[in-house]
């Protein structure tokens, strides 16, 4: 071998040995998610390759050697680009990836495009990410995992753009492809994610029920049970779900399971994500902040600014949520670091948190500046910023500005959009506007906003003048009750008077403290809590309602959902009178809905008297027999031991439907319409969801069963359960119950009601009031008579 050739060989051997050593170390660091180290090694590999190429530039080299050097150069660029994208070198990485996509013609083009698309999506540039992800999916050839990942990332990007149809299509294509090619683990992971995505768009709660059930089942499949990454993901989704429904201990169980899995694994990324999730779902501050700090430490080891920023943002948010000045000082320190490294989405969230904290401490201008900053960071999330701005301005008493800002936000949301996020945003904005306009002395406007919060999914065009005319014609009043974090008010509309606002000395916290817990499974304990609730907050409500109730014979009440289970009929006033002595109460989803229902032509002649549940020891048959025997009906259909089928068959033809049976609000479902149930013959359950599919002509449905008038809903003011089911199905009115009722007392009240209603030519509202007043004279326990309420039309 000639001299230069010998040098070349030696130099090559040295280069090759070092290159392979670095490659091994790179693989090791990547596997441990130590990204800063991996990036450093890749950069060393780049410099090594460049030095070797420079040393031998101009020399006559064998084509194989030239090719090998070029290949290694490309390989190193790929490594740098992919690690750089997640290790805080995005601008350089992006340029490298664009170059690689242009340069490659094979599957490597797809991989580079996937890395580029993923990098953009991770920075919330979803629209920009989509074309690259499409290239990745189209050019992946036989590389099925690349194709599946590209489709999955597309689904995610569409989801974030709220283009749900395209998102679902991309997801389904990914799952099908994974299954077709035997990629069980990937298919299981995709199924999980698809479920989770569905929960984000669904406003009924049904998707969350499915997520809980299927994620639990998926966790037991061999693919997920054997994959730490997937098990952790399943646990995290469940933790998120439990956190949202207030089951923080269950959320912690899931995250603890995830932590167990992560601790047996040296993947830092996995550990970081698990700790981060724990801190996000944990309600106890000490536990949450400890995990957030651990997550920050792990993020520093990983070396990725994205992860570090997310951990810092979470820690800042947790600390700001306390009243502890030391924690605030720590948050300020973390904020300085965060603002230097965070991407715009993370900083946006941090700015919102900071703004709200500043507002809580009276630093209004600083808060507004933080919101300005948030707006400039992510302009497309303007509705969130405007909502926060309106809340801050309201807190500062700058109501005129707050109204303009909230109206601007509302105008930016499509009113026909019925997706969960949109409904929540619209409800919140209408609530804020109702309160602002009430304070500004515009009660008509306030009432129209209050109406909108209650009829979001049942749009009925209606002006204030129409409602006022209807109140005058029917001689009824309406009261809307708003309770927020630190203030409450009643908006009052009476016939022949200008609407007005009455202050109400109540807060959300006070209500939460006294109303029965969702976890209570004992009927008596529930009722006792309700009685305590009447004693604790009844005085404040009575004070706000006394005047309007004393002046009107019929009052429509529209409490927010946290007060929907409160027995208003049990209120007593300082002068010794009781609510049932003064006026009849009626409830409805919204006044415009009650007005619409009142237009229906109804008949009262044909009775369906049904009962079920005799096998449980309550003589329900005698209840329905007694109602059927009342001398008011033109025709009677008596169905004792009614099955669900029989009830659904018979109900459409009836003018008055009386059903005596067991009723409940089931705890095992999050779907509002499925949770309200009655138990019919053979322990068969019939839910409000099934009732809502009926077409009814009934003037009245009397559902004499426990808790038939309470419901589960996710929005502040919308109603659900049997309220919606029977009214949506076409019934004009419903009598239902709030608490656990004693069968004898409930039956006596029903008989007394029918006698008053049918014999006296009086309205249903007045008949129920008379029945309740009569019962109140003989029973000291308000829950034997105040639990019943009339819903829908008062006539």
């Amino acid at each position: 071998m000639a001299e230069p050739e010998a040098d070349l060989l030696t130099s090559w051997q040295l280069f090759d040995g070092r290159f392979l050593e670095l490659q091994g170390r790179f693989a090791e660091s990547s596997a441990q998610s130590n990204l800063s180290e991996a990036y450093r090694i890749a950069a060393e590999m780049r410099d090594l390759t460049a030095a070797f190429a420079a040393r031998w530039r101009g020399a006559i080299l064998l084509p194989d050697v030239v090719h090998e050097i070029d290949e290694r150069g490309l390989f190193v660029r790929q490594l740098l680009a992919s690690v750089g994208a997640v290790a805080g070198h995005w601008p350089e990485s992006r340029v490298l990836l664009e170059g690689l996509v242009a340069e490659f013609t094979d599957e490597r083009r797809a991989m580079a495009a996937l890395a580029l698309g993923t990098g953009l999506a991770n920075r919330a540039e979803y629209r920009a990410a989509l074309p690259w992800l499409r290239i990745a999916a189209d050019d992946a050839g036989d590389s099925i995992p690349t194709k599946v990942q590209a489709l999955c990332q597309m689904a995610n990007s569409y989801l974030n753009l709220e283009e749900f149809t395209q998102s679902a299509a991309a997801h389904e294509a990914a799952v099908a492809l994974a299954r077709e090619h035997g990629l069980g683990e990937l298919a299981a992971q995709l199924s999980l994610r698809k479920l989770y995505f569905e929960t984000l768009r669904d406003a009924t709660g049904a998707a969350r029920d499915r997520l809980r059930k299927e994620a639990d089942e998926l966790k037991r499949t061999p693919e997920i049970a054997s994959s730490p990454r997937l098990r952790i993901e399943a646990c995290q989704m469940l933790a998120d779900y439990y956190g949202k429904i207030g089951e923080s201990a269950l959320a912690r169980d899931e995250v603890n399971e995830a932590l167990d899995v992560a601790s047996g694994n040296d993947d830092l990324q996995l550990r970081w994500r698990t700790l981060q999730n724990y801190a996000q779902t944990e309600k106890n501050f000490d536990r949450a902040i400890r995990r957030a700090e651990e997550a920050t430490t792990v993020a520093r080891t990983i070396g990725s600014p994205e992860e570090l920023a997310q951990s810092l943002q979470l820690a800042v948010s947790l600390r700001l949520d306390t009243e502890d000045v030391q924690q605030h000082a720590r948050a300020e320190e973390e904020w300085s670091e965060l603002s230097n490294i965070a991407d715009s989405e993370t900083l946006f969230t941090a700015c919102l948190d900071r703004a709200l904290q500043q507002a809580r401490r009276g630093r209004i201008e600083a808060s507004l500046a933080s919101l300005e900053e948030a707006q400039s960071l992510v302009p497309q999330r303007s509705v969130e910023v405007l909502y926060a701005r309106a809340a801050v301005l309201m807190r500062a008493g700058r109501d005129a500005e707050a109204a303009t800002v909230a109206s601007d936000a509302l105008a930016r949301i499509d009113p026909t959009d019925t997706r969960r996020r949109s409904l929540v945003q619209r409800t919140n904005l209408h609530r804020v506007l109702a309160q602002i306009e009430a304070r500004r002395g515009n009660p008509e406007l306030a009432i129209m906003h209050a109406e909108s919060t209650r009829a979001l999914t049942t749009p009925i065009d209606c002006e204030w003048a129409d409602l006022q005319a209807w109140l005058n014609r029917e001689d009824v009043a309406a009261v809307y009750i708003f309770v927020s974090e630190n203030s409450a008010a009643c908006l009052i509309a009476e016939p022949g008077r200008a609407p007005r606002m009455n202050p109400l000395a109540l807060t959300v916290k006070q209500i939460a403290e006294v109303m029965p817990s969702r976890d209570s499974v004992d009927a008596e304990a529930w009722n006792r809590a309700l009685v305590r609730g009447i004693a604790a907050i009844g005085g404040a409500l009575a004070q706000a309602l006394h005047e309007v109730c004393a002046r009107n014979r019929v009052v429509y009440l529209f409490p927010e959902s946290n007060l929907a289970g409160f027995p208003f009929s049990a209120l007593s006033f300082p002068d010794g009178s009781g609510m049932v002595d003064l006026c009849a109460l009626v409830f409805a989803p919204a006044l415009r809905i009650a007005k619409e229902i009142s237009k229906k032509k109804t008949s009262r002649g044909a009775l369906l008297a049904a009962s079920a549940g005799g096998e449980t020891g309550v003589d329900f048959r005698s209840h329905s027999e007694e109602i059927a025997a009342l001398p008011f009906w033109e025709s009677v259909r008596h169905v004792p031991d009614a099955s669900a089928f029989a009830f659904l068959e018979e109900a459409p033809a009836a003018d008055v439907i009386h059903l005596a049976c067991h009723g409940t609000l089931a705890g095992q479902t999050e779907e509002g319409m499925a949770a309200s149930e009655v138990e019919l013959a053979g322990y068969e359950r019939l839910s409000a969801k099934e009732i809502s599919r009926l077409t009814l002509q009934a003037d009245l449905v009397f559902l004499n069963a426990c808790r038939s008038g309470v419901f589960r809903t996710e929005l502040y003011s919308e109603t659900g359960g049997f309220w919606r089911a029977f009214l949506d199905a076409g019934a004009a009115s419903l009598v239902a119950t709030l608490g656990y009722v004693e069968p004898g007392a409930a039956q006596r009240l029903a008989v007394s009601f029918y006698k008053a209603w049918r014999a006296g030519e009086i309205s249903k509202a007045e008949a129920l009031r008379q029945a309740q007043a009569e019962a109140a004279r003989t029973s000291p326990d308000p829950l034997t008579w105040a639990s019943h309420l009339l819903i829908g039309c008062h006539r």
Partner: protein, 189 residues
């Protein structure tokens, strides 16, 4: 309360009483003073039942009982097990008043079905009964749901439900009296 009064509970009343007993147990009766929600008890039972099934450390008869309780397939057997658990709790001085209150509550008629969570709560309370701790180390005042104060000890009132269910669940058939086990056996024929 005598054995007769527990025996006099109908099947539905026995299950309701059990739910009422669970409802009435104060937070201080649980580990870290954190009372589990009914959903948490249910999840725990489901998870441990599943683990026990795969790990083959539970006798098939125990698993059959758990399954029957979950599906409500043997209401009489479930009610009998509930009566037995109520009596066990009643026999503990700390729980006697609570149990009596729960029985009284269950005897009041209502127009609501037996809560579906009752079967899971029965399993949870069965496991607790299995793990009654008698150590008396530190005194502590607790307030019962009617505001009555009484002195008890932290240790005897602290139940780690996870541990209790884990240990109790696979050995249900050994723990339950033969007459109840055989009731479950009959229904599964």
């Amino acid at each position: 309360m005598s054995r007769t009064s527990v025996d006099s509970l109908s099947s539905d009343e026995a299950m309701r009483a059990l739910a009422a007993l669970f409802d009435g147990l104060p937070a201080s009766a649980w580990l870290d003073e954190e009372k589990p929600s009914p959903l948490r008890v249910r999840k725990l039972v489901e998870r441990l039942e599943n683990e026990a099934r795969f790990e083959h450390d539970a006798g098939p008869q125990s698993l059959a009982i758990v399954r029957a309780l979950q599906t409500g397939a043997s209401p009489e057997a479930s009610a009998e097990a509930a009566r037995w658990v109520l009596q066990l709790f009643h026999d503990q001085p700390e729980f006697a008043t609570l149990t009596e209150e729960a029985i009284l509550s269950a005897k009041k008629p209502h127009m609501s079905p037996v809560p579906p969570e009752a079967a899971y709560l029965l399993l949870g309370l069965l496991a607790m009964a299995f793990k009654f701790r008698r150590a008396r180390k530190s005194e502590k005042t607790i307030v019962t749901k009617h505001g009555k104060e009484k002195v008890t000890t932290t240790d005897e009132f602290s139940f780690d439900l996870l541990k209790a269910v884990k240990e109790g669940l696979p050995r249900l058939s050994e723990f339950l009296p033969g007459r109840i086990t055989s009731l479950f056996g009959k229904s599964h024929g």
